[in-house]
């Protein structure tokens, strides 16, 4: 057995990493095809404000991150649907706004320390046992949510108007995707970090899209790229003492560049 797995924290990091590696690109796929990738970054910043609240109130920051990002997800969707603000501007509003809130709370809590760095860029040594259970449990919720409503979510993403005309509750399906995205993102910030989770949701998907396959095949390819990036990234993080989020995303980028070069259009 590799010496890396003698450490409990590494085993936990791998378990949480695999869960995130599966869930992130699945949600990412639905965001990318809707031209809505920026939502991932926005919700990641909202999660960060949630982490700050958690640190301030001394509760598990992942839980407060999940709660806040789900609340924000509802807020984003209802503002978008109200038509009073451009969809894109809503994202900018939430992205910068939540960062501002996070900074204020953290300065009140005097929380600017190394621990914070791990939330920004991901860290493998900080996944506690309770983090692991929360991550695995909610990753299963997100995964099952997408599997159970796959055909409806897919239809509503491909052509919302046709989906609505055939009787699907498109607005509710949209909210569902955004809420699942909020959960998946809040879960992932321990390992991948606030600033890089968007990349893990988007890069494997755009890599997979280079191969010119249908939706289902592209989805499976993106999970494959994502899992490979997470696993190799965690190894690199351990052996070269790198921030895990950075290592994972750089490897995902390498797969993307390789895909660009392999598939000539």
């Amino acid at each position: 057995m590799l010496d890396i797995f003698q450490y409990d924290f590494m085993v936990r990091a791998f378990e949480a990493g695999v869960a995130i590696g599966i869930v992130a690109p699945i949600i990412g796929m639905f965001l990318v095809v809707r031209r809505y990738s920026l939502l991932a970054d926005t919700l990641a910043h909202v999660s960060f404000a949630g982490v700050a609240i958690g640190i301030f109130l001394s509760i598990n920051p992942i839980l407060s991150a999940i709660v806040l990002s789900v609340v924000a997800a509802f807020g984003i969707e209802s503002l978008r649907n109200s038509g009073r603000i451009f969809g894109e501007s809503v994202l900018a509003l939430f992205l910068s706004g939540s960062l501002a809130v996070a900074v204020i709370i953290l300065s009140l809590a005097k929380g600017f320390n190394a621990n914070l760095f791990s939330y920004l860029f991901g860290s493998i040594s900080t996944v506690s046992l309770s983090d692991l259970w929360v991550t695995l449990g909610l990753a299963v919720v997100v995964f099952l949510g997408v599997i159970i409503f796959y055909k409806e979510l897919f239809f509503a993403s491909f052509d919302p108007e046709l989906a609505e005309a055939s009787g699907l509750p498109v607005k509710r399906l949209n909210i569902m995707i955004v809420v699942l995205a909020a959960i998946a993102i809040a879960l992932s910030i321990r390992i991948v970090g606030v600033l890089l989770i968007g990349a893990l949701m988007v890069i494997p998907v755009v890599s997979a899209m280079q191969y010119g396959k249908g939706f289902r095949t592209t989805l499976m390819l993106s999970v494959f790229f994502s899992l490979l990036s997470v696993i190799l990234g965690l190894f690199a993080s351990y052996y070269f003492n790198l921030a895990s989020g950075g290592a994972i995303v750089v490897i995902a980028l390498i797969f993307f560049i390789a895909s660009l070069l392999i598939v000539k259009k």
């Binding site: 055909k151 897919f154 239809f155 052509d159 989906a163 609505e164 055939s166 899209m209 010119g212 249908g214």
Partner: protein, 255 residues
């Protein structure tokens, strides 16, 4: 519902966007087996009318009855197969195969929490065959021509086993040769498969040749009847203004 009851009944339907009245007191019905062409100028309310029938917009006043039920109580929306206007502009970069598009036609019929059965797959296969696109089943939608993509969306609508097909400017972005085959295909669906068709177009030439009944729409109903009886100069003036020459085809001899 009795056999004679029309599929669609509009009664005094009006619709306005703010103060802009787009449809005014529109009443007509569509019966089983009809091939109804709706024509009118751009901005004449054609797409608004489609969206009202599809339940995407709600009339400001008036009632819509679909298959014998008030539109509020009508749940079997898949009985109306819709082929949208923007087929030619569909997101070409969306990673989706022809088969995956056509399968979406069955999703509402299958319902939540259920998977595609063997029967569903057979119906999808039949729709692909009927539309003549079976050989493209694994091709990406973005790799097809406008005419081929048009057929994919027809197949999608057919896969829901509709009682009526609604097509909104379906040949936009389709080349002339493909349009001809397309119209023949529609006629055969109506004649051989007894599918009711509601065809919306700004192209008076096409409607007068293809449809069995025509409805002229310019905010309110300007004409309704057989094309040869309805499309006279007076009607055309009401639709398109005085500068329009007589472009109706009095000599057409379609079945």
């Amino acid at each position: 519902m009795s056999v004679e009851e029309p599929y669609i009944i509009l009664n005094n339907v009006s619709f306005s966007y703010g103060n802009n009245l787009v449809l005014e007191n529109l009443s007509f019905s569509v019966r089983k087996g009809e091939y109804l062409g709706i024509i009118g100028p751009n901005g004449g309310g054609k797409t608004t009318l489609t969206n009202i029938i599809l339940g995407l917009l709600h009339p400001t006043t008036g009632t819509v009855t679909l298959f014998g039920k008030d539109r509020h109580d009508f749940k079997e929306k898949y009985r109306i197969g819709y082929v949208p206007q923007r087929v030619a502009q569909t997101d070409k970069d969306f990673p989706i195969t022809v088969l995956e598009v056509v399968r979406t036609g069955r999703i509402a019929r299958i319902g939540f929490l259920k998977r595609f059965s063997k029967k569903d797959k057979e119906i999808v296969d039949r729709a692909l065959e009927l539309a003549g696109i079976a050989k493209y089943r694994d091709t990406l939608i973005g790799d097809l021509s406008g005419g081929e993509r048009q057929r994919v969306f027809i197949a999608r609508a057919l896969a829901s086993e509709p009682d009526i097909l609604i097509l909104d400017e379906p040949t936009v972005g389709v080349d002339i040769a493909a349009q001809k085959t397309f119209y023949e295909f529609l006629t055969s669906l109506n004649r051989d498969h007894h599918l009711t068709i509601l065809f919306i177009s700004h192209d008076i030439d096409v409607i007068s040749h293809e449809a069995k009944t025509v409805l002229c729409l310019n905010r309110n109903m300007v004409c309704h009847g057989a094309p040869e009886d309805s499309l006279n100069e007076e009607v055309l003036r009401k639709l398109y203004g005085d500068h329009v020459k007589n472009i109706s085809h009095n000599d057409h001899n379609h079945a």
